[in-house]
């Protein structure tokens, strides 16, 4: 009897005594399920990132994970609780930590179970669509997750894509959209779509290579992600371009799978997708990497298998498939014909995949496919895989150097927030693409002391090579402050915006280019206080992985009867993945005056 009493007393105590909520709420898993900011971004450290009352059962749940845990325990404890259907991952957390043993605790959750049955849990993959051709800003890129039915599936086209993005109304105009995106005016939500749509959007239409990183997570861990994803259905997070963006949100999801993974331990301002990839490697979470070339890269690789005559024939075929009946084409053996027709077909589709259906293009497309089909294919050759983005240099740069200008020595030093110029080490970056943001360069001169040499706010340059098959327009835009030559003095600090369209070509690693240039500048103390100029620039850029060099000449004629010619040469040698040596010389002449100088500097990339 005494024994029975003890047992009853024990049982009563278990029901009446609440769990140690404070300890449970502090566990990494609960913190991850609550999306508590561990200090990864500056706003609201210690509170939840979720900006949606529907996510919380306690009124102060956003700020108090323990209160939310108490409310969750009360709501989820009763069998048949509807709250279990809303929060299946929280249920799993409570059941595993508190030892709840029900045989089918979610059996009444029909909607959840129906959705859950559609979600495969074989493999979770982080997907990084790299920069797209002729749009260097897309280097900042995007990341998403892919959910496969099995590890190493045969057909990833049938997989699911998990995406975090801002929810924009269709009527918003673009400028407003970008501003709200930066300032956090848009709610961001998770969505689940089919992966084939993402392949189409990125690899086919935008022509971005995609990198796929299979994560080393088991089915039990992936199950946490999937059940938690259901809890995030329709839940808003404010979207901030710089910190609370898609990449940060995906890291949070992966933390739900493996809370102890060191993924958000440091401040992650301006989270770039490439750093997300590095964080996953750092946490030992990447099992395998796959490269998915874009349509443009596929075409390039295919065309590289043709000689000059064959390329010219392929370009003719693209414009007029009837030329397959010419003796010139028929003279080639069938496998060569197959290749030429395939290049012609892919070139035609590259230009016409986007936009409304064109009957004439459709007719040509099918005609070319028939030629492809009639002629047996040569053995396939995989597209050569470039260096992956995570092998690229760090996103921030410091530089230190010495130089001499007009007989005076100077010490140069600077810092660049982001990211890559045409002469930085190429590995992991798209050839011909450059984007820089916030680049400050200072000079310490033996006579003038410390002075600002230049401050680039933004400097984007896209050398998109033209070929028989693609005719893109290269472009550049550059804005900031710099020491500007003025008519009657040496140089003075002035603000400027310049840019223009251009053309570039590619011969191996050599990119010749020409640009038209329009420039508006304002130099303090000059008259008139704003000058408008136009001109041209021509140059060469050599981009190999072992060395980068270039030369350029830019001529500008201003409306105020003032002309300038600037020439320069740059060479850069990477000495390790994150360090490089650079030498530069430039000469600038105007109104009979000229300034010439050279410098050598050490560049270090980090973060």
């Amino acid at each position: 009897m005494l024994w029975l009493c003890v047992v009853l007393w024990g049982a009563g105590a278990q029901a009446a005594t609440a769990p140690d909520f404070a300890a449970l709420a502090a566990t990494p898993r609960w913190q991850a399920l609550m999306h508590v900011n561990p200090g990864a971004t500056l706003r609201g450290v210690g509170t939840s990132y979720v900006d949606d009352a529907d996510f919380f059962l306690a009124t102060d749940g956003k700020a108090d994970p323990e209160a939310e845990l108490r409310a969750t325990w009360r709501a989820l404890e009763p069998a048949q609780s509807q709250a279990r259907c809303r929060f299946p991952a929280r249920y799993r957390f409570l059941a595993t930590t508190l030892g709840w043993h029900e045989s089918a605790p979610l059996a009444h959750c029909e909607d959840y179970l129906a959705w859950r049955a559609q979600m495969p849990i074989g493999q979770l993959v982080l997907v990084f669509p790299a920069a797209y051709l002729n749009s260097p800003s897309s280097m900042f890129g995007h990341t998403l997750l892919r959910l496969d039915a099995e590890p190493d599936p045969d057909a990833v086209w049938l997989s699911r894509a998990i995406n975090f993005g801002a929810q924009a109304g269709g009527a918003d105009n673009s400028l407003f959209y970008i501003w709200r995106g930066l300032a956090g005016g848009y709610p961001g939500q998770f969505s689940v779509t089919s992966y084939v749509e993402k392949i189409r959007d990125y690899a086919f239409v935008e022509n971005r290579d995609m990198w796929e990183y299979a994560l080393d997570l088991d089915a039990g861990e992936i199950d946490w992600v999937v059940s938690h994803l259901w809890e995030l259905r329709g839940i808003n997070f404010d979207y901030y371009f710089f910190d609370e963006n898609c990449s940060l949100r995906l890291l949070e999801l992966i933390k739900v799978a493996r809370p102890q993974a060191p993924l958000m331990t440091e401040l992650r301002f301006a989270e770039l997708p490439v750093n997300t990839v590095r964080a996953l490697y750092g946490a030992d979470l990447v099992a395998e990497r796959r490269y998915r070339p874009s349509k443009a890269v596929e075409l390039e690789a295919l065309a590289a298998r043709l000689d000059a005559n064959e390329r010219a024939l392929a370009a003719d075929l693209r414009d007029d498939p009837a030329r397959v009946d010419t003796p010139a084409f028929k003279a080639y053996p069938p496998p060569r014909r197959h290749l030429m027709a395939q290049v012609a077909y892919q070139a035609l589709r590259l230009r016409n995949r986007e936009g409304d259906r064109d009957p004439d293009v459709a007719r040509k497309s099918l005609a070319l496919l028939r030629v492809v089909q009639r002629n047996p294919a040569p053995p396939p050759q995989p597209v050569p895989e470039p260096a992956p983005p995570e092998r690229g240099h760090g996103t921030q740069t410091v530089n230190l150097g010495v130089g001499r200008q007009d007989g005076r020595d100077f010490l140069a030093f600077g810092y660049r927030l982001t990211y890559h110029d045409l002469f930085d080490p190429l590995a992991g970056f798209l050839p011909g693409a450059a984007i820089e943001g916030l680049d400050v360069q200072l000079r310490l001169d033996e006579r003038d002391g410390l002075a600002l040499e230049s401050l680039d706010l933004v400097n984007i340059r896209s050398l998109a090579p033209r070929s028989e098959f693609v005719k893109p327009i290269s472009w550049f835009v550059h804005a900031g402050l710099e020491q500007t030559p003025v008519a009657d003095r040496a140089r003075a600090l002035g603000g400027f915006v310049q840019g223009g369209p251009g053309a570039s070509w590619r011969f191996g690693d050599l990119f010749p280019y020409v640009f038209a240039v329009a420039r508006i500048e304002s130099v303090s103390g000059t008259d008139p206080d704003a000058a408008l100029g136009g001109g041209a620039e021509a140059g060469l850029a050599y981009q190999a992985e072992s060395v980068q060099w270039g030369l350029h000449a830019r001529w500008l004629e201003f409306t105020s009867q003032f002309a300038r010619l600037r020439t320069g040469v740059t060479a850069n040698v990477p000495v390790s993945p994150d360090n490089a040596l650079r030498g530069e010389c430039s000469h600038e002449s105007w109104q009979g005056e000229a300034v010439a100088g050279c410098s050598v500097s050490f560049r270090h990339f980090f973060d």
């Binding site: 039915a149 057909a155 086209w157 993005g165 259905r233 589709r349 409304d356 009957p359």
Partner: protein, 160 residues
């Protein structure tokens, strides 16, 4: 297997009963070969905040082509072909003889891995019959694939 039979049955009526397309209104059954991809956030600004227009889908529908796939465990070959942009990839793979789109189609149609190479070569040989015109629709292509498969000893059991 059953899914394909149902799919094929639905397809039989899809060309005449266009008012209520299988898969729901707005579904891409009528997609023509070489249909352009439009309405994508191809411009820079949309790229920056990675925006999506309208409501976030959550795996219950397949998204932009409007095909309702709720309740289906995997895609059928039919709904895959109906997705915007997929048909021309399948056409190219069949012309070449292999490729990722063709593999996806075989998996969606639940064709045994041991039969995939055979399926690919049969599709390649019958390219002209499967894609008879440049304005063939995804529904017609699915019908043509089934017709070709029915004639083949190793593949006929997948469709009958």
């Amino acid at each position: 297997m059953k899914k394909i039979i149902i799919g094929a049955a639905l397809l039989g009526s899809s060309m005449t009963a266009s008012a209520v397309a299988p898969g729901g209104p707005g579904c891409g059954w009528g997609n023509l070969l070489f249909e352009g991809s439009s309405g994508l956030p191809a411009h820079l600004l949309a790229t920056i905040v990675n925006g999506t227009s309208g409501n976030a889908t959550f795996g219950m529908t397949s998204g932009t082509n409007g095909c309702d796939t709720s309740g289906t465990l995997t895609y059928s070959g039919n709904s895959l072909l109906a997705m915007n942009g997929v048909l021309e990839e399948v056409a190219q793979d069949m012309a070449v003889g292999h490729g990722e789109a063709l593999t996806a189609l075989t998996v969606a149609m639940q064709i045994d891995p041991a039969d995939r190479d055979h399926f690919n070569s049969v599709m390649h040989q019958n390219f002209a019959q499967i894609f008879p015109r440049d304005d063939v629709s995804s529904g017609e292509v699915m019908d043509n694939i089934n017709t070709v498969m029915k004639r083949d000893d190793r593949l006929s059991h997948y469709v009958s």
